[in-house]
Symmetry: C2
Subunit: 643 residues, 2 copies
């Protein structure tokens, strides 16, 4: 009760500490808090932090930044769960010292103050170890020397003394912030990753042939050449045979049609098996190894749903909903029914055995070498299940990454991130205009969202060919790719369809592919290279070489005088500065003046050498506003390194 300091509003925090703030290894956490007390006394504050489970706090002093706000920075070079809190106290040593300086400045007589200082130093000394206490006690003794009044005044005014005060917080009646806040530090790939997706069924270099793991493995050097570091396949499990969907989502497959890989399970097995037409488990494990040798991780699609002939249905009927006529409940969104899928019932009486089995699926694949999961429609499964399953996985395997495919309403999307998903798909896919893009990036990077939701930008997915890419030209594909890869440090692309500029919207009028690869085997000329593969190769190389592009949070939009030309700068603590200027119009050359943000760059006069990393050109800019002209048929973007 003798604490006089109040601490409020400690940030960052997510739901008042209910969920952890997320960072990656080496990424700073900027701590900020409102701290004040009654009266005029000097306050000191510190952030305390420790690994979860550790007893001892580490501590770092905070600085006052005005308006009763204090700030500091912590960062961690190790993965794991950490906690932090803010502490603060009236520092009577500093208080006495400040008062002394003020009184001395107006010429007051300070004998009593010197004696007070001596007493104070003795009290401070008593809170420290003998070694630390020794010089404090020596100074205390000196201050008591009545003959040396002038010398003692000078002693207190000395730099030495100032430093001694600064370095010896005098903690009494320390206030702790209301609650310990949680921090999760994950590996760097959680924030910086480049995903490439293809269907192994379409990996064959021979037209009309069903691809295999071996075919996919043969494409790995190509993926590495393009510069991607995560290779993601749609589900690789046996495809359901009952109520199998045909081409273009036809209700019933014709004989020989491969079905949707997301309808999982058949007599060949379920979520722990591989589809026989793709090869053997050994083949898959070999593919993972080959990928690894190319610096690529293989991501598994975690789709917790079953075809009606999934082995679970017979073995664990208690995990499904059965209707009064003894038929199984299909997935439905009334009045629609999805008869190739039966959903698992997360509320069933046997929920414990169900949850354990689902967790065991993750662990099964982790043991095979999979450390990255792309999770299909997580927003149609219990959110509390995800929180539990991800935490359980991370207990032993903290390096595992979960990408949430939740194209859903904002609050559900956010909640999944809070529950533990490492990354999330985003609305980038549908943000097209300069206004939309800037507003969305601001929401992602400048609000509380930044502390838990790591965006992953995809221009397309097998489910989504957005309207603005339907019928669009190559320029648009290059432009959206370059934007995804420079706006967000996590990005991905549904590869072959994108590279080969599949712009055929579904005749049903939705934002889907016509003749979607979800329901059929495709043939791609995997040896072909074009403007899109060139852009992929270059941008992935640029991302690797420029640390500013390895974070999403460091973006600032800057001014242009043309709504078709968007400009943004990414800048990191090492001074790496990348200025992106993009022509949002895929059909016309656009020119603009762009303003040099002098304050952001910390310069007074403009004298910039800009190196365009796509074209190799150099621009020398000496004016506040500079002219740019972007031909979308060449490169629709400048990616300038400021040198």
């Amino acid at each position: 009760m003798r604490q006089r300091v109040i601490i409020e509003n400690v940030k960052p925090q997510v739901n008042a500490g209910r969920y952890p703030v997320k960072r990656t290894v080496g990424e700073p956490v900027n701590i900020i808090a409102d701290i004040f007390a009654d009266g005029h006394d000097a306050i000191r504050a510190a952030v305390q932090f420790r690994k979860k489970g550790a007893k001892k706090w580490e501590e770092q002093l905070l600085s006052a930044i005005g308006n009763d706000t204090y700030a500091g920075k912590i960062q961690f070079e190790e993965e794991g769960h950490f906690e932090y809190q803010v502490t603060a106290w009236i520092d009577h040593l500093e208080n006495w010292y400040n008062g002394f300086l003020k009184k001395q400045a107006v010429g007051q007589h300070l004998s009593v103050e010197l004696e007070e200082g001596a007493i104070m130093l003795e009290k401070v000394a008593a809170t420290y170890s003998k070694t630390v206490a020794k010089p404090l006690l020596a100074k205390a003794k000196q201050l008591r020397d009545k003959k040396g009044y002038q010398e003692n005044i000078q002693l207190v005014l000395s730099d030495d003394f100032r430093q001694m005060v600064a370095e010896h917080p005098f903690k009494q009646f320390v206030t702790e912030s209301d609650r310990k806040l949680n921090l999760l530090v994950e590996r760097k790939k959680a924030l910086f990753s480049s995903w490439y997706e293809f269907f192994p069924r379409s990996a064959s270099q021979e037209r009309g042939k069903h691809g295999t793991f071996k075919d996919a493995e043969a494409l790995i050097p190509r993926v590495a050449e393009l510069g991607f570091d995560i290779l993601y396949f749609p589900p690789i499990h046996p495809v359901g045979e009952v109520n199998r969907k045909g081409k273009n989502n036809a209700t019933n497959a014709q004989s020989g049609e491969p079905g949707s890989p997301w309808a999982i399970g058949s007599k060949h097995g379920g979520h722990k098996a591989v589809a026989p037409e793709l090869g053997t488990m050994k083949d898959y494990e070999q593919l993972i190894k080959t990928a690894k040798s190319h610096g690529i991780e293989v991501a598994l699609d975690l789709a917790y749903q079953c075809a009606p002939d999934h082995p679970y249905v017979k073995k664990h009927p208690e995990w499904f909903v059965w209707r009064p006529d003894n038929t199984i409940m299909y997935a439905e969104n009334p009045p629609k029914k999805y008869q190739d899928i039966v959903p698992l019932d997360f509320e069933c009486d046997a929920w414990e055995s169900l949850w354990k089995e689902l967790l065991s699926v993750i662990i099964f694949w982790v043991k095979k070498g999979v450390k990255v999961f792309r999770v299909d429609n997580p927003h149609t499964k219990s959110f509390n299940f995800w929180e539990w399953a991800i935490a359980e996985t991370h207990k032993k395997y903290p390096e595992v990454i979960f990408l949430s495919e939740a194209f859903t309403r904002p609050k559900r999307m956010a909640s999944l991130a809070k529950k533990g998903f490492t990354q999330g798909y985003t609305y980038f896919t549908w943000r097209v205009s300069k206004g939309e893009l800037q507003e969305y990036m601001t929401e992602l990077t400048q609000t509380e969202s930044r502390d838990y939701f790591r965006p992953n930008f995809w221009p397309n997915t097998p489910d989504i060919l957005p309207y603005h890419l339907q019928g669009a030209n190559e320029n648009a594909f290059v432009m959206r790719l370059l934007m995804a890869a420079t706006l967000s440090s996590n990005y991905g692309v549904y590869g072959a369809a994108y590279e080969f500029v599949d712009n055929h919207g579904n005749s049903n009028g939705k934002e889907e592919y016509q003749d979607s690869e979800k329901y059929e085997v495709k043939y791609y000329e995997w040896n072909r290279r074009n403007r899109i593969t060139d852009a992929m190769t270059k941008i992935n190389q640029i991302r690797k070489e420029n640390t500013a592009l390895q974070s999403t949070w460091n973006i600032t939009f800057t001014n242009t005088n043309n709504d078709n030309v968007m400009s943004y700068i990414k800048r990191d603590e090492n001074g790496n500065t990348i200025w992106c200027i993009v022509n949002l119009d895929p059909n016309n050359v656009q020119a603009a003046f762009v303003e040099v943000p002098k304050q952001l760059l910390g310069i007074e006069h403009v004298n910039l050498r800009c190196h365009d990393l796509l074209t190799g050109q150099y621009f020398d800019w000496r004016n506040d506003w500079n002219y740019v002209e972007l031909n979308p048929s060449y490169y629709p973007m400048h990616i300038l390194r400021i040198e």
Copy 2:
């Protein structure tokens, strides 16, 4: 773990429930929360609330208002501490019912659905009492009648059935919000009060004579006539004689000077005594009674500081700071010293006995009939002390009101309100321009501040004569008074000095009075009436008759085309609508067009009869924009009741 619904971001809340949300009796609490689940199932949500200590929750369903947000309203007709939480669940009855309607609409056969409905109703029935269950079971039985297929479809489609579903929440796996939130309901005067301050030392009707409680008592009918309901005196305790301040804050009083009443304590006693020159304790108690009979409460000034000759100093030296030369520590803000005051040390080893004594001061006066305290400089005493002392007082006397005189930095001001102060002085005193006033009111009423900080607007205090009133004319005094009384439902005025237009700024250049009443006895012609007393009388009457002016939260600023003319509307749930239009320029007539806010008033076409409650005039407005002209020498404000 089977809970599938997530509840986040329940509002209102103050510091995640650490402090209570504040309301007065009958004032609604609008509850809002983010609520969502996986999938597409129907969700129901409720707010639960109860008096602290009660076992049983009361409950009210919330409504979905879009974007996964749910809203509802609770209110209390009784003072006290309450708590509330939000609960939500997948409602499988509603879910089945919604699905049934959708399937029926597209003509699906629904035999199995009817049977599912019967089973569902039986399950629902099992969660209710026998009486409630009976009709549910009857309907379940009917749905099973296979011969009556068409009749049963019609049964489900009936209004009866819809109502039955609506009225029978089917609770399973209920999610509760993260924490119980606290609510403090106080008496109506906490939000609606009109304060009048004078120094009893200046209450004598005889020039040059020191006023007494009896003189003050004689002025009570006058205060009642002006329409105020709280009468506040500066401290009434014995004034310190050691280091007493003289006229205009002179370091040493001349013999016979009365000193500052805020330097409390002398050989005549301390905080539980009255100054002998004012009369006896009996006189004071009589004054309280007389005030009460006029509908007025008497407020005591709670100033926890001591003159050097306060009895505490000798009796409880352990509550003060003593210097190494055995002198007592005066109040100081280095290099300044305040030698008429010695501060209590809230950190002292004997803090417990000190805190108890200070609490006993409050209780002493409460027992004398004081239910309102104006607390002097609370931001120079331990905030945790206030939280404890106010809570302790409220345990037995929940009706006690504490007004915080904390003219300090925003976060400290806010914190004192959170710690328990009922009302707080504000920056209104210095908000002069239209932009400043609108911004400040928006901050007070539209942010989280609204849930804990109740503003009390004062145009002046004995400590503060703001620059804009120094040398100002009567018009300015009328204008600031009317604004204080209409912007904020709590307002007050340092009366006689204001009424008699004391506009003499201190020659020290500060925002203080020249010849401040703090240090001397003044003579006022208490019988005089003028434009200010007229405005006081009228505005207090208008406030009593118009409930819209009895709240601070219901304000909306509306458009005018003149920056010197500010317009705002207050509107309450009973439809009482008061439109204030004020000329902010005390020297010139100002004219403007003001816009009728049709959406706010819920009208499509303008046809308003406006009754000016100050002048009695009527205006008929039929246009979207209407002309007003305000002569500050008459009334600088229209206070229009919309009829």
